[in-house]
Subunit: 232 residues, 2 copies
DNA sequence: AAATATTGGTATGTAGGACATAATTGCAAG
DNA sequence: CTTGCAATTATGTCCTACATACCAATATTT
């Protein structure tokens, strides 16, 4: 029974649930299951894979968490369209992120804001400009840092929205706690927020009358002050 | 016993495991647990929360999947640093993504490649330029589409690497199957790959002698041909 | 005494049975 | 045709038992 093939069988480091999860994913792709299609019930899967229903449930619960499937009480379980960023959100608790990750994320933000400049000039309209102006005014009138940070984030959220890319809008919402955390760190260090080289009003002016190249320079100088705070 | 407060109690739409997961996360933040710190064992959690060990395990398995915790057989379970993008990867199977998400992701790619232009000119060196040149040559010498696609992706992966942002490098690797899928779609539609307006050689030339603004224009014209394939 | 084997305890991993819950179906009475 | 009720079905929760890996301390060998 225990011959060489058994002894030297590939060592499995992933848990059973993990393997089962992979098997189920393979099953999906093999059978070309599309959104709405039902998948076998838990007991059948357990029997087919030779594991307990417990393990199958754990695997399924992973897929469920990712939004890849959706389970209803009597209807069974069906394939669903996953929420791209909903899952991502779950690991983005600043408390769990090291300083390296934080720095990368903030740098990514700069990359994104520079990257959308072309789209901004392509898609922005008068109404957007007015709305941005109102936000900038409210920020200027803020009585404390908390309020100011709120309007600051709101300003940049609007930019993402104007760019028209759904993905980015969600991304902004998800990254909110991270950026907020960075702001908090910053506040602690030098007591009051440093004035940005280029203000929000400057940015609006450029969006109205300037070029995308001018905008990129401005947004770069607007955001970089925040980044050295992350490298001590 | 069953008075109005019970009747009109907030309806629970999340599963028990989901609630427990949240409770455990709250426990982490409340106790300010850091990486490496141990968490209570499953049975204790189950008892404390008044649920079965089964449910606790399901919640923990979620956190485990996200890399937030790490469980060893006798040592118990400890806090770990999450893998930012490792989880994200799990939902990025092109088969599960709708056309809208695909379009957004590809647009995001353009945003990113435009966004890193500043960093590229800041951080690129001669060795990078030579390496990029070799890749471009190999791409030109490719005998079939598969090979050409491989080197194309390799070229852009190098760009991300040169930018120096870890996050982006991982992002590229994760998005690989998505972009590959887009290329496949494209191949099917117009049989042979459309020539890019700006070739990789052009991009290298600009990186060597040009400005970041020229580069942005070039990369934009280089990538946009791919995007209309996604909106039918 | 130092290195190695053995043994036992501990927390996670897996198994399997039982029951609860919600949703669907079909039948029956109004 | 609608309403009400019971049966059915697959997921959700609970429970108990055992397996497995790991660690520590003790026992055995060299």
């Amino acid at each position: 029974m225990t011959d060489a093939t058994d002894i030297f069988a590939p060592i499995v480091k992933t848990s059973l649930a993990g393997q089962v999860e992979q098997k189920i994913r393979d099953y999906f792709t093999e059978h070309k299951l599309k959104i709405g299609d039902p998948i076998p019930k838990e007991v059948d899967l357990a029997e087919a894979l030779g594991v307990s229903r417990n393990v199958v449930r754990e695997a399924l619960s992973h897929l469920k968490m990712l939004g890849l499937i959706q389970a209803k009480k009597r209807r069974g379980t069906i394939i669903a369209e996953p929420d791209l960023l909903g899952t991502f959100k779950k690991v983005l608790d600043p408390l769990f992120l090291g300083p390296e990750s934080l720095k990368d994320l903030f740098e990514l933000r700069i990359i994104l804001e520079i990257g959308i400049s072309e789209l901004l000039f392509l898609r922005i309209n008068n109404k957007d400009l007015i709305s941005l102006g109102n936000i900038a005014i409210k920020e200027k009138q803020s009585l404390n840092d908390i309020e100011r940070i709120y309007w600051d984030i709101e300003f940049h959220a609007s930019l993402y929205k104007i760019s028209g890319n759904e993905f980015l809008q969600h991304f902004q919402r998800i990254l909110y706690p991270v950026f907020h955390y960075v702001y908090e760190q910053l506040k602690e260090r030098d007591q009051k927020l440093r004035p940005n080289i280029a203000s929000h009003f400057d940015l609006i002016d450029i969006l109205r009358n300037g070029t995308s190249e001018e905008y990129r320079k401005a947004i770069y100088s607007h955001l970089t002050p925040h980044i050295d705070i992350l490298q001590p």
